[in-house]
Amino acid sequence: MQQAGGFFSDARSFLIRYGWKLAGALLVAYSLAMGLVMQVPQLPVLGESIRNLFYHVPLWFSMTFLLLASAINSLRYLATNRPQLDVLAAAQVRVALWFGFAGLFTGMVWARTTWGTWWVNDPKLLGAAAGILFYVAYVVLRNSMDDLQRRARVSAVANILFFCMFIPTIFIIPRLTDSLHPGSGGNPAFNVYDLDNRMRWVFYPAVLGWILLGIWMASLSARLQLLQAVAAGLWDQDVLTTAVRHEQ
């Protein structure tokens, strides 16, 4: 009886520790394959390129989620002065940037198919490019400082500021003007025109999968950076939080 309890306890602990990572990996693998294989509505102009909805949009959603989490962690850093929060915020921005570049690339492929060109000077596209540049500037700013405390404090403030600029640039300004992009300038998005019920079975798992994968990647990067800093003697071992210790 005790052994069975031990087994279930071990299984539960394994699922809590690794289950969400496994779920993220499986959901993304499922969406990568099903996105190309499933039947999609045949719509004028969009044609088969509608399948890009399963790749382009989840990548941008995950990027926005990670940037929001990063801004919250920067706020928490300023409130508590715990360096692990700053490291985590920076890791989340780095992963979000990778997702952003992949989102830009998939978006350009989609634009080439539907609009006939890789890039147009559309408010949404320009906003996306500007948003990515804000965070490239964040990484440059962060890497330009050697003093750990100063770097953490300045980059936390910059991160919060850039997030406050990012949201209007990406989501608000394009809605106020004419735009080719779905969801902006009065164009439809996520409704009967481009997201029927069959597509939801791939789209939502893709969004969830990429978000979980992003959280995993950022947490790995942050944990590794913290441990390397402790091993190099830059920080005391006390800096290792439960986020690191639970992996022992």
């Binding site: 394959a33 390129s49 091993a231």
Partner: protein, 78 residues
């Protein structure tokens, strides 16, 4: 060992996908037309999944690296 795992995963994906019926219609766009021919579509899916499997293998190796580093730090601390 990790490369072998990636290869096995890639082969499994290939086997599973080779059995999938492909419903894609013929397209106006030439690249999409080329892509949506069954064999090529399967090949693209397998390449995507292999790249993704390589990413997952990399993340798992990072997890192992973190565990080793954590143990080293703990031992050193004790």
């Amino acid at each position: 060992m990790n490369n072998k795992r990636g290869l096995v995963l890639g082969c499994l994906c290939w086997m599973l996908l080779a059995m999938q019926p492909v419903h894609a219609q013929s397209l106006d766009h030439s690249v999409a037309e080329w892509l949506m021919q069954n064999d090529r579509l399967n090949a693209v899916i397998v390449v995507l999944l292999i790249i993704f499997a390589a990413l997952i293998v990399f993340l798992i190796r990072q997890e192992q690296k973190i565990r080793q580093l954590q143990k080293k730090i703990n031992n050193h601390h004790e």
